[in-house]
Amino acid sequence: MKNKQLLFLLFLLVVIINFSCKKPQENPLVAETGHISFKFTHVVDGLPLQIDTMKYVNAAGNPYSIYDLQYFISDVTLHKSDGTKKVISDWKDIDYIDIHIPSTLTWDVYDSIPVGTYDSISFTFGISGAKNKSFMFVNYPEVNMMWPDLLGGGYHYMMINGKWQDSINQIENFNFHLGIGQLYKGNATNCVDSIYAFVQNYFNVTLPNSSFTISEGSTRHVEIIMNVDSWFKTPHIYNHNYWGQNIMEIQPAMQMVKENGYDVFTAHVIQ
């Protein structure tokens, strides 16, 4: 009798601790959507950007080279002809691109994109004022884009660092940076105490030739091309000899850059 009791209790124990180990299984989510992936390329005069070579000449006739190119785009929006749109923001709404970090040159978008035909793609170059807050990035590489609080805070929209040959044939460094601008009292510049207002210099870009279709379960690849030379022309000729090395405290220069930026980007939808 006792043995039976013992066996029964041992059986109970085994039942309680039954290790019916089921293997984990991954099940992809299924929906009537597709995906989109962006590839970022950078060209000068139609050819891929080559860094650290003084082979380029801008519209103002300044020979120049580039060794850093970093920027943010945000609030990428896919527009349909019926007026509806899909703002890419399910995972991230700000994307950082850096020519030295290959992983940033491709953005496999997390969002599920409803199937259909889209007329165009637009985005904010830089980060809108509502989102561009200091300390929102604390990690490399984005943290290096920090824009000093005294000059408006937040983060650079873009940093192009390079060299140009000046009017007396000396090689100078330039920091072609775009971010929040400042308005100074009187003629004072570079004097933070005389700043009385800040100017948001982000702008909206609509990519020409960016219509595409998304089909169920597929991924549409779109190349976003920055024509770097365009920053220095149309509608304004940008002259390094005139604006000098740094422009982040010169709002008129940044205004010019902003206005030049509308046609800097083009798109190529990969079929």
Partner: protein, 730 residues
């Protein structure tokens, strides 16, 4: 055997006695050899660094589980604590079966019982004092606020069965410190300890004085610890040094008054200070931690024929915690400092009544937890300095009031125990933070209140004189803690993410069944086998938030996770323990434990490099941070009437392959560690305890050890350590 017998002859033990115990010895030796082979086979199969890994902890576990309660209760007494090399209570507790710990640095290992951790465990001091840890990263779990040298007894109760000290979700750890007691005539006594261990070049000092007379009595003690950085064991020809140094000191003063022969009151003050405590697995180090605990405890016994005990306690614990990154690379360009103040004020009253075989305990308790803290970040960039100050907790408040009762009785060959507890829990915060996206409130309303009901019931059937079987059923609910409700963007988990609190979390509930078989015989020892199953509802876990909702604030993390409730998870496991009888020269113990935990459905974010490109649902996924199977065997021999005791222990830990797919949790290789120790009682006033931990200088890490910050590598355990402790009692 020959050596042992020769030594026995040398010390002239009586052959008659030896003959008497011969058969017992044979049995024990056979058992030990069997277990040893089992454990060594396991360890070799799962050797972490390959080759012949061995580890040992020189510990004899006198598990008191073979008692009348229907649940597992382990008790470690002062005499056992004194035999061990302990620099940290949480670290020491890992000797118990199915008790593990989260290591983030050299000290303050955070206990984990059967995979339950943090607030899922009710860790109390002196039968009811609670301490709210100041650090969001849990640099200061409750167990770090007490020094082993001050402890009289540690009780560990697994499961949601003991409810009188507060909601006990996954288990109870009760750290009971020494108390002063009255003397017939005035007496004064003192004891002191000096300990040193290599590797860390760590030293510890302890002194305690107690005395008094019938009416007034006292205890004063102080501790000092100063440890350097430790090195891991030898890994392919070299070791690694971890920034793990720490300094701690504390002072305790207790004063007792005998109001009447059966009534006394004890007033207590403890001040604990930590300084420059380094945590290589966290983003910051502890710059300072100042904790003050005051309490008053009134006890009355035999108040009437029916009322046996009345115990009333009030306390306040106050933790000032400061941490920064001043000892980290990059400090010159980015400085972070966080300061937190946590105050827990509470009390409890319980009355124990007994009428014949019916014992009833009833009472109430309350606690008021207030937490406030902020973080200041300063960055030097482009020649300018930017500073941001943000709160971690903003005058957050949790109030909990509970009523509890226990009932114990016996009839025929059955013993019966039951407990019930009701808690009213209310929380609020001064937070003004609002995170709302697409009409989803991620962090908004900060007030919440819950009524939780917990209950347990247990029955023990005495099969015969030696063997009994127990079944315990329990259900316990706990409300979310300060961290889970209100923390703002700190890397407090194991997975290199910033965490965001969730003020609207629901309480989680553990429904558990324990079945325990116990056998105990004077000449054979005690054996128990336990199996448990837990069904946890509204389990609190975390899910990743997108950067478009909130961005991390800690350098080096991958993103942000927020605490959420998941439907349910299950834990199941088993434990085995054997302890030899204490009345023979040769003795030992063997424990083994395993826990298997599953979450039925979890979200896995698909990564392409560091980019999140999609998500999948993982079914039957492993819960993260669950310790693997492990076993420890310990053998000792008492020479010279027990004045000289060498011990050898071996701990084998299996590889942990059942890891969370959704959390990308890595596997942990198995390992085995060998420890040796020798205790020598010089005379009635002096004792020496010396030994070697990790004899073969193995490089290994526990599955629950955190990763070194900024890397994917885990924090290793210390390599070989020679230690010596000198005790003096007067």
């Amino acid at each position: 055997m020959f050596i042992l017998q020769t030594m026995e002859n040398i010390i002239k033990m009586k052959y008659k006695y030896l003959f008497k115990i011969f058969s017992y010895k044979q049995r024990v030796i056979k058992l030990m050899l069997g277990l040893f082979l089992l454990v060594t086979n396991l360890s070799f199969a799962y050797s972490q660094i390959t080759k012949d890994t061995i580890k040992l902890t020189p510990v004899v576990i006198l598990d008191n589980s073979v008692i009348k309660k229907s649940y597992l209760k382990s008790a470690i007494l002062k005499v056992q604590i004194q035999n061990e090399e302990i620099r940290d209570v949480g670290d020491f507790l890992r000797i118990l079966p199915n008790v593990s710990g989260v290591r983030k640095g050299g000290v303050s290992v955070d206990p984990v019982v059967r995979g339950f951790k943090f607030s899922q465990l009710n860790v109390v001091l002196d039968n009811g004092i609670k301490i709210e840890n100041g650090c969001p990263n849990r640099m200061d779990p409750v167990s770090s606020h007490v020094e082993a040298e001050d402890i009289e007894k540690i009780e560990v109760i697994k499961g949601p069965f003991v409810l009188k000290y507060g909601p006990s979700f996954g288990g109870l750890i009760n750290l009971i410190t020494e108390e002063p007691h009255p003397y017939d005539k005035f007496e004064i006594h003192a004891n002191a300890l000096y300990g040193f261990e290599t590797n860390w070049n760590g030293q510890k000092e302890h002194i305690s004085i107690n005395g008094g007379n019938k009416k007034i009595y006292f205890l004063a003690s102080g501790n000092y610890k100063n440890y350097g950085n430790y090195k891991s064991g030898n890994l392919e020809g070299h070791d690694m040094t971890f920034s793990s140094s720490f300094k701690k000191n504390n002072f305790t003063g207790k004063l007792g008054f005998s109001i009447k022969p059966n009534q006394n009151i004890i007033l207590s003050y403890t001040g604990i200070n930590g300084k420059d405590v380094l945590y290589p697995a966290l983003t910051m180090d502890e710059k300072s931690d100042d904790t003050r605990i005051v309490s008053a405890d009134y006890k009355a016994r035999d108040l009437s024929k029916f009322v046996k005990v009345l115990d009333i306690k009030v306390y306040q614990s106050n933790v000032d915690h400061v941490m920064d990154n001043s000892k980290r690379p990059g400090y010159s360009t980015k400085q972070m400092i966080a300061e937190v103040n946590a105050v827990n004020t509470g009390g409890r009253a319980e009355i124990t009544m007994q009428q014949t075989k019916h014992k009833i305990l009833a009472g109430f308790d309350f606690e008021n937890i207030n937490k406030d803290g902020d973080r200041t970040m300063t960055m030097q960039m482009m020649g300018t300095t930017s500073t941001k100050k943000s709160n971690l907790w903003d005058n957050a408040l949790i109030q909990n009031a509970g009523l509890f009762a226990e009932y114990n009785t016996f009839f025929s060959s059955f013993e019966f125990n039951a407990g019930i507890r009701g808690d009213f829990n209310k929380a609020t915060s001064g937070d003004t933070l609002k995170i709302i996206k697409n009409d989803v409130n991620y962090f908004n309303a900060v007030n919440s209140q819950y009524m939780n009901l917990s209950a347990s019931i247990g029955i023990t059937k005495k099969i015969n004189e030696y063997f009994n079987v127990s079944l315990a059923l329990g259900r316990a609910s706990r409300s979310p803690n300060m961290l889970e409700r209100y923390i703002k963007l700190m890397a407090v988990g194991y997975d290199n993410f910033d965490y965001l609190g969730n003020p609207q979390l629901k309480p989680e509930t553990n429904n558990e069944a324990d079945l325990t078989l116990k056998f105990s015989q004077d000449n054979t020892g005690s054996i128990y086998l336990n199996g448990f199953y837990s069904y946890v509802q509204n389990y609190i876990t975390a899910e990743r938030l997108s950067p478009s909702v909130v961005m991390p604030q800690t350098q080096g993390v991958l993103g942000v996770k927020q605490f959420v409730n998941t439907d349910y998870v299950t834990f199941k496991g088993c434990e085995f323990g054997y302890t030899s009888p204490d009345n023979f020269s040769l003795g030992g113990s063997m424990v083994a434990a395993y826990t298997y935990a599953v979450i039925p459905e979890d979200t896995k974010y698909v990564l392409n490099g560091t980019q999140v490109t999609g998500e999948t649902i993982v079914t039957n996924d492993a819960l993260s941070e669950i310790p693997p199977f492990e076993a420890t065997i310990c053998v000792y021999y008492k020479f010279m009437k027990g004045n000289l005791i060498p011990k050898i222990s071996f701990r084998a830990v299996a590889e942990q392959r059942h890891t969370s797919v959704a959390f990308y949790e890595a596997h942990t290789p198995g390992f085995g560690i060998l420890n040796l120790s020798l205790k020598y009682k010089v005379n009635k006033n002096a004792e020496i305890n010396t030994g070697i931990n990790n004899v073969f200088d193995r490089a290994y890490y526990e599955h629950l050890n955190r990763k070194i910050i900024g890397t994917t590598g885990k924090l290793y355990e210390p390599g070989r350590v020679f230690f010596i402790n000198l005790f003096v009692n007067i």
